[in-house]
Each structure stands twice: as structure tokens, then as C-alpha cells.
């Protein structure tokens, strides 16, 4: 029978990961994500899993990559400063196609910033933090329940597409406690493994574009490298191979947008003003939309549950026809850049930014709408 439990966001990420079959956690303490490590330190031994506190975030992400190659479902959790250190490992995981899941609980930056204050300043970092063209999935929970559910989904997507998945949460959701419903059993996905040793090529793909790479230690004598590699898994400097590889890494995700992208639209159909937001900010928006509607203002909301891949086309279709689009976010304007790209000059795009370490409250939104005469 499903049970209801009061949980903190960080705890929900840890429990969601366990429900999804994560059995290896490596991490380094950092506010506001440390509770994930604390829960994992306690819970992993109960499920014959491994918890290890590494010497830094670089080691943490590399350790989960190693464990993933050995067949485990893996998680690490961090915040901005640690996420910065993890970027090289994130790029490596993209390149070798290691399924890994990273929680980045956003705090105020740059640098050490305000460790205990919320922000949404890592949005672009989650997409472009590591060098080179690369593709990955980024989910944005806006509640404790969603922290649990999206972590399960993140683990499943990582396995299904052999890709890093980032859960881009924030200090508020990490520390918020809400009752959540936990199912007895959650649907899980396991990575596809090769069947035949004869003729095995780790990076040979079929129509799915996702390779069936053997776990190490299973007799396939498989090979991984962060260098551009052919389907053998060995390095090459052949430009055609490189182009095919990078294109496939892109297309394996971009050809599955139906499966990956989730957008939540609320009353956008007849809206004169639509808010596009993600994460914790969407909760202030939801309340503000209710109030605006009671005041006779046709307001709507589009919440991005999946932040990346970012599909201009899908956002355009989901956002309705409101002539005015407000983009509230806890940074100086990151999502709004993408929204402007989507709509060009066809709509009035208005940024609403807050960078003092507090949330954007419903009152902030209502005042903004009034002051800007939107």
C-alpha cells in the first residue's frame, strides 16, 4: 500500500534514488545538499549498497562513474561550488556514455556566495558547465514529491539513454518538508547490456542510438576513453568518426523528446499573461496566477519540469498565445534568454529577477504585474 511520509527534499532525493535501485553513492559535504549524503550513509548499508565520502567533488563524480561502469546505479549530490568541480567528470560521463545522476541543489553564487540562501543561478551551468558540445538531461523539481519522483525518473533515464542526468534543485526545496506519497514499487529501467561476446563492439548502435556497453568485469574486454573513439571504444582522430560520434550523442536524446520532455501548462489557453518558470519559483507563480484570475486577469503558467534538452518548438506550442510572457527566476536572467530565443519579437518577454537570496513570492509577482502595468 502506498504510504505517506513527511520528508525533506534532500531526503526525498536519497529515498527516490534508493527506490530506483541506486546502490552506490559517493559525495563530498556541501550546504545545502549534505543531507543526501547523511541519509545515504545510513541507508546504503541497509540495502547492501555502497556509501563513500570522497576527498572532493572531482573524486566524487569520478567514483560514481567508476561504479556505474561496474554496473551500479549511482548518485552524487552537491551544490554550485561542488558542481563546478564536477564539470570535467560530467563531460567525461557524457563522452563515455556512463549513466550517472547528479543532484545540484542551487545556492547563491558565484563562488562561495551565500551558502544557505536559495538561487537559480546554475541553470546555464547545468547545460553548458563542461566544455565542448555535449548533451544531457536536466530535471527541475518544484516540490518534495517531485524531488522523489524525478529522482526515480532521472535514474531511469540515465540508464535508458546512457547519459548523465542532472536534478537541478535548490536550497529551498532541499530543506523543505512536505508529505509525499511513496509507492510500494517504482518502475525501474536497467541499461541494455550486450548479449554476445563474439563481434562485440561497445559503441556500435542500432536505431535507438544508445550503445549496449558491457559492464566491466563481465568478460567483454571493453574499452572506455574520453578521447574521441570509434565503435571499438578506442581512440581515433578521424574527423568523420568524431562527427558521427558527436552527432549521435546529440541525436540519442533529441530524437526522444517525447519521452524526455515534460512541461506543465496551467490555464495558458486563454491567458493574456503567461509566466514561464521552473523549480521553486513556479510555486510562487502558481499562487499568483490564482490571485490574478480571481481579480479577473487572465493569467497562466508554464512550468518547465524538463529544462534540458530545451525544445523551442515544444515550449512555443505549450505556452499558449498570451501576448505577454513574464519569466521570473532567481538569477539575473538566464531562462529568459532561451525564452526570447523561442519567441523572438512575436511576444512581449518580460524578465522578473530576484537576486537577494529570497524567493520570488506571490506578492512580488502581483506587485510586479501592477507596477509594470502588465
Amino acid at each position: 500500500m502506498p504510504r505517506i511520509a513527511l520528508m525533506q527534499g534532500n531526503e526525498a532525493v536519497a529515498e527516490g534514488a534508493l527506490a530506483a535501485g541506486v546502490r552506490f553513492y559517493a559525495g563530498y559535504p556541501i550546504t545545502p545538499s549534505s543531507e543526501v549524503a547523511e541519509v545515504m550513509a545510513r541507508r546504503m548499508p541497509q540495502v547492501q549498497g555502497v556509501f563513500i565520502q570522497m576527498e572532493d567533488e572531482i573524486a566524487s563524480i569520478m567514483a560514481i562513474v567508476g561504479a556505474s561502469l561496474a554496473g551500479k546505479k549511482v548518485l552524487t549530490a552537491t551544490s554550485g561550488p561542488g558542481f563546478s568541480l564536477m564539470q570535467e567528470g560530467l563531460g567525461y560521463a557524457c563522452m563515455i556514455e556512463a549513466p550517472i545522476v547528479i543532484l545540484d541543489s542551487m545556492r547563491y553564487g558565484p563562488s562561495t556566495g551565500m551558502p544557505t540562501k536559495v538561487s537559480q543561478m546554475d541553470l546555464m551551468q547545468s547545460r553548458w558547465g563542461t566544455h565542448g558540445d555535449h548533451w544531457l538531461i536536466v530535471y527541475s523539481p518544484s516540490s518534495v514529491q517531485e524531488s522523489y519522483d524525478l529522482t526515480i525518473r532521472a535514474v531511469n533515464m540515465a540508464e535508458k539513454y546512457r547519459t548523465p542526468v542532472v536534478i537541478l534543485s535548490d536550497e529551498t526545496i532541499s530543506h523543505l518538508r512536505e508529505p509525499i506519497t511513496i509507492a510500494d514499487v517504482s518502475p525501474t529501467v536497467d541499461r541494455r547490456l550486450p548479449a554476445e561476446r563474439a563481434g562485440y563492439l561497445p559503441y556500435k548502435t542500432d536505431a535507438t542510438l544508445v550503445p549496449a556497453i558491457a559492464n566491466v568485469g563481465t568478460g567483454f574486454r571493453t574499452s572506455f576513453t574520453g578521447l574521441v573513439h570509434s565503435d571499438t571504444g578506442f581512440q581515433t582522430a578521424n574527423g568523420h568518426v568524431a562527427e558521427a560520434l558527436i552527432t549521435r550523442l546529440r541525436d540519442k536524446l533529441l530524437s526522444k523528446l517525447d519521452d524526455i520532455i515534460e512541461l506543465e501548462a496551467d490555464r495558458v489557453e486563454d491567458a493574456d499573461i503567461t509566466f514561464i518558470s521552473f523549480g521553486i519559483t513556479a510555486r510562487g507563480v502558481a499562487e499568483a496566477v490564482d490571485v490574478l484570475r480571481t481579480r479577473g486577469k487572465k493569467a497562466g503558467s508554464l512550468r518547465l519540469v524538463t529544462l534540458f534538452p530545451f525544445s523551442d518548438d515544444r515550449i512555443r506550442k505549450a505556452a499558449g498565445n498570451a501576448p505577454t510572457i513574464v519569466v521570473p527566476e532567481l538569477n539575473s536572467g538566464q531562462l529568459v534568454l532561451l525564452i526570447k530565443r523561442v519567441f523572438g519579437d512575436s511576444r512581449r518577454i518580460v524578465p522578473l529577477n530576484k537576486v537577494n537570496g529570497d524567493l520570488i513570492s506571490p506578492a512580488d509577482i502581483l506587485n510586479f504585474v501592477a507596477e509594470e502595468k502588465l
Binding site: P32, T116, R177, E178, R283, A286, L359
Partner: protein
């Protein structure tokens, strides 16, 4: 509880158990089928420092999870009230600990219609022998004032958080808080 929604803020100094107190009310409310969001402010200090815990209890989905329009603010230190007394309106019931706090000027009759000054710490020490249980006394006060959760649900939630040998002490702490509210007509400054 206006519109089936109740907003609570507790403030004081770290180590007084206010965060736990808010979690206990949250659990009692969930047991009674309510929706809650509980949060707290985090500081750099592990002990001491000013702390705040917030709880929203509602009959339906809670969108914005932070307290913006508190129904009850309970402060155990002046510093806490100063830092986290925002949003107090004429509808807000304010409880302060008169054993450790001076009556704040900011809370004049115009700003705050219902102010209850109770000697929470002194009564706790006197009746229970030490400051331990202070937060549970406060839970009793919250229950007595608002009945936002039932006494039974609160007793169960408290029991889940204390060792067996301390259950009795904590039940007495809860009763003490409820009793203090009952007597407040004579001891309270303004209600």
C-alpha cells in the same frame, strides 16, 4: 484557520528545538489528513544564533510554501522576533516568552491585536525541573490557542520523537502549555 489554511512561525535561538516542534505539528496535521509545508532558516552556526521554523497547514494543495501571512507567531527571544517578525498583521496572534523577553514596542496595539506574553521558560523550569521540554510546552500553547491539530494527534506525534522514558515528561510539558493558555486570561498581558 481562515480558508482552511493556517500559517505558523516559530522563532528563537538555535538549540531550543523549534524546528523539531514545527515538524511535530506537521506530523500531527498530516495524521489528520491535512497538507503541510515545513521549512526553516539555516544559519552558519550549528548551535545558538537566531532560528526560524515555519509551517503551513492547509486543507488543500499549498502552492507557495513559505509563510507570508502568519496566523500565529511564537517568539522565544527578542532577537528572533526582531529578525523574523515580518508579516505580523492584525490577524496574527503573537506569543512571546515573558520570562526572557521584554515586551517589544513594535507590537503595540495598533500593529498587533492579540499578544500573549507567557512565562514559558520559567514555567517549564518550575514545573518540569529543567528547560528540556520547552519546545513541547510551546506545542501545548499552540494547541491550546488554535486547536489547529487535536491534542491526541499532537500526543502521538510527540511520542514518536522521544525515547520511551521521556514520554511521560513530554506529555506533562504538553499539558503545561495547554494549561498556560487556559490561565492566560489572568496572566497574559493582552489577548
Amino acid at each position: 484557520m481562515d480558508n482552511g489554511r493556517f500559517e505558523l512561525r516559530l522563532t528563537g535561538s538555535g538549540g531550543q528545538g523549534l524546528i523539531l516542534a514545527s515538524i511535530i505539528v506537521a506530523e500531527a496535521a498530516i495524521a489528520e489528513g491535512k497538507v503541510v509545508t515545513q521549512s526553516q532558516v539555516y544559519g552558519a552556526e550549528a548551535r545558538g544564533g537566531t532560528t526560524k521554523a515555519e509551517l503551513i497547514i492547509s486543507d488543500r494543495h499549498i502552492a507557495y510554501p513559505k509563510v507570508t501571512d502568519p496566523d500565529l507567531v511564537a517568539a522565544l527571544t527578542n532577537e528572533g522576533l526582531k529578525q523574523y517578525g515580518g508579516g505580523i498583521s492584525r490577524k496574527t496572534v503573537v506569543v512571546i516568552d515573558s520570562s526572557t523577553m521584554a515586551l517589544p514596542e513594535s507590537l503595540n496595539e495598533e500593529a498587533c491585536k492579540t499578544l500573549l506574553a507567557l512565562p514559558i521558560r520559567n514555567a517549564t523550569v518550575e514545573k518540569l525541573g529543567s528547560e528540556l521540554g520547552l519546545n513541547v510546552v510551546l506545542l501545548g500553547i499552540i494547541q491550546g490557542l488554535t486547536e489547529v491539530v487535536s491534542v491526541e494527534a499532537l500526543r502521538t506525534a510527540v511520542s514518536l520523537h522521544v525515547k520511551k522514558q521521556y514520554v511521560d515528561l513530554n506529555m506533562r510539558a504538553l499539558d503545561l502549555g495547554i494549561e498556560m493558555v487556559r490561565e492566560s486570561a489572568t496572566t497574559g498581558i493582552r489577548i
